[in-house]
């Protein structure tokens, strides 16, 4: 029952390539191939949601959409929760609280499986427009000539593992950070690996509580986060070094629980100097802003971990230099890969869907060729602006909190305390993150 709240799931793993497949072949083949208006390659959270968004779009009622997913169909049942967010530093007492006093929820944590189940059901309801093929992996893409010839098909040709072929006016790559679509079309990807892996697990809390707070503590080895699932269950996302992650996954359950609790509670990384400096600023802030001294809430402690729920995966950053080419668009992790510390990975993917669906809908209503690059670049510009900022900020935070060197710890301690004191700034952050 691993609750995966970051978007590393169900993606089509591309077959290993010796190099990008950039050859442009004239294809005058099988005119009996079905011509789809849109093919979405990759049926994970983002791919399935994209197919759903188009399937329900009013201007796509007479269009044909195909969703290709390498894995089997998944159907399950779970719960959802609301949350607020507490984040603090392991090397000092600095903390920041994002709270919503009014009744609006700041955000929701929904398990991957729950979302997939909902999407699968929605897709079944529009099966006249959206065809979903499970256990189907594209092994080859053939692009139309950039210099169009009169006799060659202007569509993208897709060949599946079982030999079947399709043509499409627009191919959407939603196949994860090792995107086969991106590699096949030859789009450059700026990427580096963090020397970190994330461990996810489902934890049982020591006592039932009104579990609506998400906790994240920045340890020198990486952030550890506890995200609420129910009154007694929380999900763990612990980013740490590869060796430590491997240890955590293989150690026995009691030791694991101890490690988790200690990570949240231990003061071992504090230094007197930083503590004093932090306290000074806190005093200064409380003089200037004597309001609202809320009692400090404490993170819940963990009793046990769900058997077999511990999994690990490597972390890295990735950003495609281009999101679109003629007849191709990348969304989700295929376009951008981010550290889970801000919980924004799949949200950025959903933002991509919203933008691309809007542009495609308008294009369809204008009678345009869906693969035309003119509206695709509109999507690319809109999303690159948003995503680049978020990627850069997340990377910066990750680097900033990966050190225990005093000057940087002092900087971030004061920074965090100051940000905590400036409510309008916090509100801006919350607004941006919950868009």
């Amino acid at each position: 029952m691993a609750a995966r709240l970051v978007s590393r799931c169900g993606a089509v793993r591309a077959a290993p390539h010796s190099g990008p497949l950039v050859s442009w072949r004239r294809w005058s083949g099988a005119s009996t191939d079905t011509v789809y208006d849109v093919v979405v390659s990759g049926g994970g959270l983002v791919g399935a949601a994209m197919a759903c968004a188009l399937g329900y779009d009013i201007h796509f009622h007479d269009k044909k959409i195909l969703l290709l997913e390498a894995g089997p169909k998944k159907v399950l049942e779970k719960l959802s929760e609301t949350y607020s967010n507490r984040v603090w530093d392991a090397c000092s007492e600095a903390l920041i609280m994002f709270d919503k006093d009014n009744l609006d929820d700041m955000g929701y944590i929904v398990e991957n499986d729950v979302i997939m189940h909902a999407l699968t059901k929605q897709l079944e309801a529009v099966s006249d427009r959206v065809t979903v093929l499970y256990r189907s992996k594209a092994i080859r893409y053939t692009w139309p000539c950039p210099f169009p010839m009169a006799d060659s098909s202007p569509w993208v040709h897709i060949t599946l593992g079982d030999g079947s072929t399709f043509q499409t006016k627009l191919l959407i790559g939603a196949d994860g950070h090792n995107s086969g679509v991106r590699q096949a079309v030859g789009i450059q990807n700026v990427s580096w690996n963090y020397d970190q892996s994330a461990v996810v697990a489902t934890l049982h809390l020591s006592e039932a509580t009104e579990n609506n707070v998400a906790w994240q503590r920045f340890l020198p080895s990486g952030p550890i986060a506890l995200l609420p699932l129910s009154d007694t269950l929380s999900s763990l996302v612990w980013s740490t070094s590869h060796e430590h992650a491997a240890e955590l996954v293989s150690m026995d359950e009691e030791k694991f629980v101890d490690a988790v609790n200690s990570a949240f509670w231990s003061d071992a990384d504090h230094t007197d100097f930083i503590d004093t400096a932090g306290a000074m600023l806190q005093y200064a802030v409380s003089l200037l802003k004597p309001t609202k001294v809320s009692a400090r809430q404490l993170p819940p402690s963990v009793a046990r971990v769900d058997a077999k729920s511990r999994v690990l995966f490597p972390l890295g950053l990735g950003h495609a230099a281009e999101y679109v080419r003629p007849r191709v668009a990348l969304i989700g992790d295929a376009a951008h890969r981010v550290h889970p510390l801000a919980g924004q990975g799949v949200n950025m993917g959903f933002g991509d869907i919203s933008s691309l669906a809007h542009h495609l809908s308008t294009a369809a209503f204008n009678g345009k060729d869906l693969g035309s690059v003119s509206h695709l670049t509109g999507y690319e510009t809109e999303r690159q602006r948003h995503n680049t900022a978020l990627l850069a900020a997340t990377d910066l935070l990750k680097r900033l909190y990966s050190t225990s060197a005093s000057p940087l710890v002092l900087l971030r301690t004061w920074g965090l305390q100051a940000t905590n004191a400036v409510s309008p700034l916090k509100e801006q952050i919350m607004a941006f993150a919950s868009k």
Binding site: P148, M149, P326, G367, K368, S372, T377
Partner: protein, 318 residues
């Protein structure tokens, strides 16, 4: 002039490939053909003397990529047509409409109309254009069924298609036609009562001479010499008067301006260069040149001649 750049022009122009935004096309290079227009004595319209036709296909196919330049026209046609349909189907808003695209060229306007659900017949006197259009739509099974192309002129099909179309589109055509009156009469004849006519063309002004003939043909060679004849440009007033006298009620006349930086056309109040007219065929069958219409036509001519003397106005009305 700019119509040479517009991709929906009639009568088989070679076209300039638009540079900005055409992602896969290289920097725009004017591709010149040596097309010359020769009057066809029988039909009174134009016939093209073919030039370098083997380049036509490539040009057309590149043009399909940069169709966005026609976007404002398509949106306008669509919106005006939707007003005439009480309940339109989502996804196929123009379903059930029969549209005639006169001077369709490579089908650059025909295809978007087809994608919106209409049944479209595209006609063009140039065989090569129709072949290209035919080829391009053949790859799309949906368009293949909805669109039909024919090599012919409007006059040739007037008899068999009388009162069959819900709408007629004549984009960048009327400035090439010799007998405008006959052409517009034919447009009216093939329209059902209450049907819509969309025309886009170039105004006959000093500005259009300067930009359209002098600059485009002689200086910048955007279009080859002889493509346009300034005398054949039609002013909105003339167009309106002919339309009105043939039983077509002009609903709107609006100017179009091209922004070379964005690559898009925009609507504007200024009709001194390019403009579009939208007219509707009256539902009641009446003879052209009824007294009322003649008077209106005359009044408009006077207005066009900048006669603002209200006394004269009054005198005419009596």
């Amino acid at each position: 002039m700019w119509s040479g750049r517009k991709l929906g022009s009639s009568g088989g122009w070679f076209l300039r490939v638009l540079g900005p935004g055409g992602c896969n096309t290289k920097a725009a290079r004017p591709l010149i053909s040596s097309a010359v227009y020769v009057k066809n004595q029988l039909s009174g319209t134009l016939q093209i003397k073919p030039g370098v036709f083997n380049e036509y296909r490539t040009i057309w196919f590149k043009s399909y990529r940069t169709i966005f330049s026609c976007l404002n026209r398509i949106k306008s046609f669509r919106d005006n047509l939707l007003k005439t349909i009480p309940n339109h189907q989502p996804g196929k808003p123009l379903l059930g409409m029969k549209i005639l695209d006169v001077g369709c060229g490579g089908g650059l306007l025909t295809e978007p109309l087809g994608r919106l659900g209409a049944s479209v017949i595209g006609i063009d006197p140039v065989d090569e254009n129709i072949k290209t259009a035919q080829c391009h739509k053949s790859f799309d099974p949906v368009l293949d069924k909805r669109i039909e192309y024919r090599v012919c002129s409007l006059e040739e099909i007037v008899e068999e298609t009388a009162e069959t179309f819900d709408a007629v589109v004549a984009s960048e055509v009327v400035e090439h036609v010799i007998d405008l009156e006959t052409f517009l009469q034919c447009c009216c004849q093939v329209l059902k009562p209450g049907g819509s006519l969309f025309i886009t063309t170039i105004n006959k002004t000093q500005l259009s001479y300067a930009l359209g003939i002098v600059f485009s043909e002689q200086i910048a060679s955007i279009v080859p010499k002889g493509t346009h004849t300034w005398e054949k440009f039609v002013s909105p007033e003339t167009l309106e008067s002919i339309l009105e006298s043939n039983g077509l009620s002009v609903q709107t006349v609006v100017g179009m301006l091209y922004n070379p930086f964005s690559g898009y056309w925009h609507w504007s109040e200024n009709t001194s260069l390019n403009y579009a007219a939208y007219a509707v065929k009256s539902r009641v069958q009446e003879h052209p040149a009824s007294a009322e219409f003649v008077l209106k036509g005359e009044t408009e001519e006077l207005q066009a001649n900048a006669c603002t003397n209200p006394a004269v106005h009054e005198k005419l009305k009596k």
